[in-house]
Every structure is written in structure tokens, then in C-alpha cells.
Symmetry: C2
Subunit: 269 residues, 2 copies
């Protein structure tokens, strides 16, 4: 894998994709719902994914693509070879309602190892990227490694819905965490929240249900600044299925999981 | 009250104050805690408030000032005459930790009536203002009046802490609201959340405890686009003390209060 060639190519196509999304701001966007009524997709998500798929296949027809909207129609059941994990618009509800707080996210994995990660917050014009072992950058400026802090001074990204009684996590324990930390925030885009952690603007972000395209790019970038990411069981993330997720400053990840996370038994249907 | 003169003057001093805050990004900021360990204040909050007080007194020594940091040492027990209600930095924790998502907020009231409101998101360079009966603007572009929507399609700004059992509001009912709406967000700055509602990027924002300087400017701006704001009892806001608060698209404010808000009896100490 020619890291420099693929890096330059990805920097180009992500800018092109961004320009296409920017143009859509002045157009009427077509909105559909997916499985869940609150899970939205637009023609712009699909067109952007198609654009990225075409460009990736032009680069190397042997590279496989796992995309949120499934436009490549590839059945990815393993991470052998080179796999691009793509979310054309992470934060689609924000894209529709706010025209901000969404990103393009591209993670590039070789035999399951994260090699390159790109997250572009188009409206803020912040392009984050990480190259395995080479560091992480925002708009080509090197990102610092994270400094330690105690949990009671932490800002945590968590959606309020996990503090409400639910089938996945003990909400009372989540409530204790919320009361213990300095504050909580919620921005509606996993990639933005991961990059806030990677830049020390949040100290942790957790969710009960994230998909590979929500975290593949972020994981590559986060690793380069010393942020830790695992499932809420403390296990390595798996990029082939949906799972729980936490990314955090290394000084507090384990404490959060051990002291405040109690996952509930999955019901057998 | 000479609305045009005071408007031009305020536009100038808010830009000057912003420039001082921008310069502080490259300096070491001094941080203190207030009553609560998570309620932070910096030398920049205080210096910015002092700067604004001096400028306001230069404009008219009879104008009184109610500021978050209390630097004017005026005892404001009524809203007679002209009162400027000032928050030099709304979102101080964000200012310290994120260097974004904070604002300067200035509301100007005459005999208790909101005449002018200014909220400046410095980092995003979005200056919102409203002039009573004359409309509201972002960077001098007229803001649209809000369109109706059903509550189940709404994005709601609410901090996760109100979904956790607390002494002020029935958290289970809050949980029902969180489950019913399209999604929730939390940005850590009341003025930013109010302006997201005023621009239709959120549909409601509620808090159990806001102070006059958190909402004085926002109320003037919000009124001009048809957003409604009251206490969580549905009563008019009072700018002389802390209270509960909701600002919302007019199509959903009453439904939220009637169906999902159950305030708990205040304990007598």
C-alpha cells in the first residue's frame, strides 16, 4: 500500500466531495427515512457515496468499500486486503436541519489495520486526518497528544437518551456519571464528537450503538494523539458490525467503564 | 431612547470586546470557580465585562447595567429606565475548554421592555441582533420567521442532567419527551442554543435554571422571528431573578409544557 499516493488521492477526492455537498445547500434536498423514522437519508448522502465509490474504484479496482448507504453493493464479511470504510455524511439530521455539524468520513484499512483516517467538517472547514504511526493533523497542522485529567473535571459527549431508562444500559449509573463530571454535551455526529475528544475539547464520547463507518476514520486519528477507543465492555472495536463505543482521554476511559457502565442483558427474541 | 444611535454604538463595542477576547486565545487564562465547582469564571470574563461597563457609562451615565460578573456593583432591583443586561462570555466552560461555542450577549431594556438584543458567536463570526418591531438579523441578513412543525419531528436542546433524577423536574417525564422527539442536542451555551432555535436549527431549548443575562438578549431576537419563550410554568420571563426557561417554535412550546413538564415542589429549608 503506497501510503503517500493514497493520502494525496484521498485529500483530493474528499475536497471534491465536499464541494458537491456545499453546492447542495442551495438546492432542495430529498429526504427519506430508513429503518427507524428518525434515521434519515438524503439524495446527497447517496450521491456523495456513489461519487466516492467511483473515485476509489478508479484508484484501484481491488480495493473494497464498506459505505453507510450500501451503494457499492459489496458484501463485506471480512477486512482482508484494502477496505475503505466510508460515511458520505455523518450527521445527516444535522445536515438537513442545521446545514452544519456533519462530516465526510473515510477510514482506510489494510488487513484490518487502520492505516489512514479522514474526517472533514465541511462547514467549519476543518479537515482532520491521521496516518498510522505518522501522527494526526487538522488542516495540515499537527495535533498534540492529549494531557491527563481527573474524571470530575471532564466534559463528556453523551446523548440524553442514554440517561433515560432503556434496554441497553443501566440509566441510573449513566446518571451518576452525568452528575459526577464537569458537564455533558451532545452534537449529533459521532465523528465530530470523536474529533472533539481527539483535540481535547471533550474528554470522552460514548454511544450504545455505532456502526463501522461512524468510527473507522476516527479510530485512526484518535490513536495518533493517544485517545483510547473500545466497546463499552472494554474490548477492541470490531469494524464488521454495530456495537457499543467509547472514545476517551486515556486517563479516564477505564474509570468510566468500570465505575459507571452496566450493560443490560440482551433479550433473546 | 435613540434606537439607531444605541444600535450603532452597541455594534461597535461588541466588535471591540470580541477582538479583546480573540487576543486572549494566545494568552494564559486565569480560571476561578464561583459558588459551584463547575461554575467557572476567568479574568477574560471580568475584563470584558469591565470594558463593556465603561463603554456603556460613556454612552449614558444614567443607563444601568446588570452583568453576570457583577462588576458594575449596581443593585438592580427593578427595570426602570434603561438597563443593559450583559453576559461578557456566555459558555465560559466552552471558552476555556473548546475555544468555541461561547458568545457575548447584550440585551437593552427600557422600563422592562426588550428594545435591542445582541448575541455574538465570535469564533463562528455570527452576530445576531434584534430590534423591537424591526426584525432580527444575522450579520445584517434578515432572519426568517419560523415555520410550524410537529413535536415528533423536533430537535430539542436539553442537557442530559435533566433526564437524571433531580429535585426540580420529574425526570421520567423529561425522558418521555426525549424518546418522543426526533433528537436532542446540548451545546453548553444558552445563548447559542436560543439562537439555534431562532434560526430553526433547533426547535426548542429548555433549562431548569437560567439567569437574566442568559436570556435577555435572546428574548428580543427570538420575538422578532416568532419563537416563544416563557418559564416552564408557561409564565412570562422575569429578568430580575433566576428561573426555569423554555424557548421554542410557537407550534410546540405549549405541548412540551403541558405534556412533558412536571416541576417538583420546592423544598422549604
Amino acid at each position: 500500500m503506497d501510503i503517500i499516493s493514497i493520502h494525496n488521492y484521498t485529500m483530493d477526492i474528499i475536497q471534491e466531495a465536499a464541494e458537491r455537498i456545499r453546492k447542495s445547500f442551495s438546492q432542495k434536498v430529498e429526504i427519506e427515512t430508513k429503518a427507524d423514522a428518525n434515521d434519515l437519508v438524503t439524495n446527497i448522502d447517496k450521491e456523495t457515496e456513489m461519487f466516492l465509490i467511483e473515485k476509489i474504484k478508479q484508484y484501484d479496482t481491488n480495493h473494497r468499500i464498506l459505505g453507510e448507504e450500501g451503494m457499492s453493493h459489496e458484501n463485506i464479511s471480512n477486512l482482508d486486503g484494502v477496505v475503505w470504510i466510508v460515511d458520505p455524511i455523518d450527521g445527516t439530521t444535522n445536515f438537513i436541519r442545521q446545514q452544519r455539524n456533519f462530516t465526510i468520513s473515510i477510514g482506510i484499512y489494510e488487513n484490518g489495520v487502520g492505516k489512514l483516517g479522514y474526517i472533514y467538517d465541511i462547514v467549519r472547514d476543518e479537515l482532520f486526518y491521521g496516518i498510522e504511526g505518522q501522527g494526526a493533523y487538522i488542516n495540515n497542522v499537527r495535533m498534540n497528544r492529549l494531557e491527563k485529567l481527573p474524571l470530575n473535571e471532564a466534559l463528556i459527549g453523551i446523548n440524553a437518551s442514554w440517561a433515560v431508562k432503556n434496554k441497553r444500559i443501566n440509566s441510573e449509573r449513566v446518571g451518576e456519571l452525568i452528575r459526577y463530571v464537569r458537564g455533558t454535551r451532545s452534537y449529533g455526529s459521532a465523528t465530530i464528537e470523536c474529533m472533539l475528544v481527539a483535540t481535547g475539547k471533550l474528554d470522552a464520547y460514548m454511544s450504545m450503538r455505532l456502526s463501522p463507518w461512524d468510527i473507522a476514520a476516527a479510530a485512526v486519528i484518535a490513536k495518533e494523539v493517544g485517545a483510547e477507543f473500545t466497546t463499552l465492555k472494554g474490548e477492541p472495536i470490531n469494524l464488521l458490525h454495530q456495537d457499543t463505543f467509547i472514545i476517551a482521554n486515556a486517563s479516564i476511559r477505564q474509570e468510566i467503564i468500570e465505575q459507571y457502565v452496566e450493560l443490560l442483558p440482551v433479550e433473546i427474541k
